[in-house]
């Protein structure tokens, strides 16, 4: 977590710097089928995050020695556009994005019925166009509906949220300031209905009790986010370029 700072993350009114309550989400919007070439795609806006996801597959795994005779393997690639962050990011994977790609691949593979597609791979390309804290969870939540939009069977949708600690309080869905200057960050993703945890990471300083409180907030939030996922899937939104963004 970020460095010490005098920044006061929770106001005297009990609200957060951006006016949210402790367990309030930022606005979330999702669409599917936003790209033409991919087998499935989605777009998510979550606070200031803007993320595009494309899914290709199942397709023959390449190189061949990567093929698993029992199942498909899932390869998520999380990437930040050079202009997505405050200081220009050099193109190409860094250590952080490689770790995120790994945990996202594993989370998705935990949900996809990979046993139906032996010897294949499923590629999930996650492009962060604008980053605003919580990109890995937003990217994963969007990936899950892009996989569904590609017609790939899943046990359940994957849906996630972060919580953390900021200004001494457990808060839901960290903002950028809370991520930078708060005390802890706890992203969790689950299978939407069973609440089985397929991604969890944490860094910072929290007690077991705080983590327990944070997980309850997250579990409850995932119900709300799952609803948005389902609406996006049901509206079968077809791209109308004139409406991107706003």
């Amino acid at each position: 977590m970020g460095t010490a700072s005098d920044i006061k993350l929770i106001g005297d009114d009990g609200l957060r710097l951006d006016g949210r309550g402790l367990d309030e989400l930022r606005p979330i919007k999702m669409e599917i089928n936003v790209l033409n070439r991919a087998d499935g795609s989605s777009y998510i806006e979550w606070g200031g995050n803007k993320i595009m996801v494309a899914v290709y597959g199942p397709r023959e795994a390449y190189p061949k020695h990567n093929q698993d005779i029992n199942k498909a393997f899932v390869r998520a690639r999380y990437n930040m556009a050079a202009f997505s962050v405050d200081e220009r990011k050099r193109p190409g994977p860094d250590r952080r994005s490689q770790e995120i790609s790994k945990v996202l691949s594993e989370a998705l593979e935990s949900a996809i019925m990979t046993e139906l597609f032996p010897r294949t791979q499923i590629d999930v390309f996650i492009e962060v166009l604008q980053a605003d804290a919580g990109t890995r969870i937003a990217g994963l939540t969007a990936s899950s509906i892009a996989v569904a939009a590609a017609g790939i069977p899943m046990r359940d949708l994957v849906v996630g949220c972060t919580a953390g600690k900021a200004g001494g309080k457990v808060v839901l869905d960290l903002s950028k300031d809370e991520d930078n200057f708060g005390e802890a960050d706890l992203p969790i993703a689950v299978l939407a209905r069973s609440k089985k945890i397929v991604l969890m990471q944490m860094d910072g300083d929290m007690t077991l009790e705080e983590i327990d409180q944070a997980h309850s907030m997250i579990f409850s939030a995932t119900d709300r986010i799952y609803q948005i996922q389902r609406e996006a899937l049901e509206s079968k939104y077809t791209v109308d370029a004139s409406q991107w963004g706003e």
């Binding site: 070439r37 991919a38 803007k50 290709y56 050079a82 202009f83 997505s84 166009l129 963004g245």
Partner: protein, 261 residues
Amino acid sequence: MPRDEVGILSEIKKNYIIRKLEEGKRGDGRSVDSFREPIIQTNYVPRAAGSAMVSLGKTRVLAGIKIELGEPFPDTPNQGVLTTNVEMLPMAFPTFEAGPPSEISIELARVVDRGIREGKTMDLQKLVVEPGKKVWIVFIDIDVLDYDGNLIDACTLAAVSALRTSVVPGSTAELKDFALPVDNIPVSVTMVKIGDKMVVDPNLEEEQISSGRITVTTTQDGHVRAMQKGNIGYFTWDEISSAITTSQRLGKEIREKYLKV
């Protein structure tokens, strides 16, 4: 450009396209010398210094500008620095791969860059903070998100649109923020040769069956600032000459319609 790698195009389809072209018709109803209507959404990434999402048919690219302080090149101490990079993201097409840029994406970025640089889009001399020591570096980064032909023109259009709305973050250097000084508006127009027809702004299908590609970038004075012949195939001088005229005409139209000052 990938040639029929997804096996979409049968020989039959190819012949059909060519026959239609001989009648002056294209699959999407356009005439051979018309440009797809671009959709341009500037400020798509508010956190960037400038940005523009551009779609050209089903091709979609996003240009983002970052402007940071840095050192000038030793041989141009009195100029800011311009760099252009294009990422042909694997999300945009089944055979695009992650990793270091291919020859194709390097050529793409360099042709876009030349149009902007030689078009004197910006006056780089206005981007000096301290001569020889501190200048503004303008990073043009373009994400290719969806690929349906003619990346050069889509990327040039996105880059120019993004530059036009960019703000130099002077406040990070204890100066004032100011609009990036954009003086000239280069427009690139790309054509491919199918049979003996010159086809403007090709989509992917058309690219796949074409032989030879020519790009001409002009500015509002009608001057040519950059040209690039690409791919296997050839052009006669008459074809080139008429490509230049076409580019001048379409450049004017696009500039007036989509890039009005």
